[in-house]
């Protein structure tokens, strides 16, 4: 709340920010011929902000909530009008229920061998879509690594000394006996359930994404209960890189093969098998495992990056 008052008094003109920050003002007052200060004072007023600019900002601050609410209301009105002119909810005549969905439901078992029609759809008919999703996750982790892994601070202001704040006191949970016992009890169950969900993706609800998220959550529980030193033994940067790379390459190559044979009407050695068996549905089970590995690594990697800045 204090910052809000600072902001308001600055807008009113009662407060000059240069007063509250002596070290920013000092160099220009003491040595006006300095290289950096002479550059900035040449193009900018040194003392305070222009009154016109301040007034514009004040007006913007006053009008912004009003126009924001107005815009939100306009969007709600337009969307509501659209919703009321949509086909009836739950009706069979909705245009989305066309021959594509019928084809997936009618021939899905025969062509993919998956009991779960959604798994057969996303990993067989629309496998490129899922490959793209895996790559989106991979690219997201890469971007987070790029942003968070550099240790040196970038000084944007070219100020000589930035105020170093002490890091916030952290609750160290790695010595907590209750958490240890609970984690010892619950982590194997989480892993078992995650593996079950991944391996039964073509038979029941689930699959690579949900199972991978469960496995990643188990890894996160393990890491926060016993510390990152324990997870480093089997889940370090090298393992992360290898697992993600191998899973994505396997996915791409196997789908290349099946698209190549399918498009050219060639004989493929991948057969749907007996629908209902665990080792059936052709490529869907290995692809589920690959996707699950990517998702689990991504979840744990994101947690580790946010928690300590490295995988």
């Amino acid at each position: 709340m204090k910052s809000n008052e600072t902001w308001k008094s600055w807008l009113r003109g009662d407060l000059d920010l240069t007063d509250t920050l002596p070290e920013a003002q000092m160099p220009s007052a003491l040595e006006p011929t300095g290289t950096e200060t002479s550059q900035t004072s040449g193009e900018e007023q040194p003392a305070s902000m222009k009154t016109l600019e301040r007034w514009e900002l004040h007006l913007f601050q006053k009008l912004y909530p009003f126009f924001a609410v107005l815009m939100g209301l306009a969007i709600v009105v337009v969307l509501m009008a659209t919703v009321f002119s949509l086909p009836r909810f739950g009706g069979e005549d909705v245009p989305a229920n066309n021959e594509v969905a019928e084809r997936y439901l009618a021939d899905g078992i025969e062509e993919t061998g998956a009991i779960n029609f959604v798994a057969g759809m996303i990993l067989d008919y629309r496998a490129f879509d899922t490959l793209g999703e895996s790559h989106v996750l991979f690219t997201g982790v890469c971007a987070v690594i790029l942003l968070l892994e550099s240790t040196e601070e970038v000084n944007i202001f070219r100020r000589k000394k930035t105020k170093k704040r002490a890091p916030a006191p952290r609750l160290d949970l790695t010595k907590d006996p209750i958490l240890h016992q609970a984690a010892l009890f619950i982590v194997p169950i989480i892993f078992l359930f995650g593996i079950y969900v991944v391996f039964n993706g073509h038979l029941s609800p689930g699959g690579g994404f949900s199972g991978g998220a469960i496995l990643g959550a188990g890894l996160i529980v393990y890491a926060s209960a016993f510390g990152f030193e324990q997870t480093e033994r089997f889940m370090n940067r090298k393992v992360f890189r290898m697992v993600t790379l191998c899973a994505l390459c396997f996915y791409s190559l196997s789908k290349c093969y099946s698209f190549f044979t399918g498009a050219n009407h060639l004989e493929s050695f991948i057969s749907p098998g007996t629908p209902g068996n665990i080792f059936s549905a052709g490529l869907i089970l290995p692809l589920n495992i690959a996707v699950g590995a990517v998702v689990a690594c991504t979840m744990y990697g994101l947690f580790s990056l946010f928690e300590r800045g490295k995988i």
Binding site: S3, W7, W10, L17, T18, L21, A24, T40, S41, E44, P65, A68, V69, M71, G72, I75, V76, L79, M80, V83, F84, L86, R88, F89, G90, G91, E92, V94, A96, N97, A101, E102, Y104, L105, A106, I109, I115, N116, F117, V118, M121, E133, V136, L137, T139, G140, V141, A143, V144, L147, L148, E153, I156, R159, R165, S204, F209, P275, L305, F306
Partner: protein, 123 residues
């Protein structure tokens, strides 16, 4: 009017959730709350897509004894929701990483305070 709303309740709720997320995104100064607002908007999209594929009285698209093709709901929107969830997770992670970098540079999450810091740093 009420009958109309009740007839397409999931879509109406999706629109309201979208509006709530949008207002959070616009009106809050805190960057984390803006990200939460964006996530609420994502959630409303999942609800809308899932409700588009629903057919009254039909069952989930998993092979069941004695069910014909006309007895299942549409599986395609379910797959699209999956895509949406994955993209939302990735963008949220990217936004949080950017916010962490902003916090390291300015020691605040408030947009106004960041603006003040920039004004200070300019001179």
């Amino acid at each position: 009017m009420l009958d109309q709303i009740l007839a397409c309740l999931p879509e109406v709720v999706a629109v309201l959730l979208y509006a709530i997320g949008f207002m959070l995104l616009l009106l809050h100064k805190n960057l984390i709350k803006k990200i939460i607002g964006l996530n609420i908007m994502d959630t409303s999209m999942y609800l809308f897509l899932a409700s588009m594929g629903y057919i009254q009285g039909n069952i989930a698209p998993i092979l069941t004894e004695g069910a014909t093709v006309a007895d299942y709901i549409n599986p395609i929107p379910s797959g699209l929701v999956l895509t949406g969830i994955v993209v939302s997770v990735s963008t949220t992670a990217l936004m949080l990483a950017l916010v962490i970098r902003l916090y390291r540079a300015y020691h605040t999450l408030n947009l106004d305070e960041i603006y003040i810091e920039i004004q200070r740093g300019r001179r």
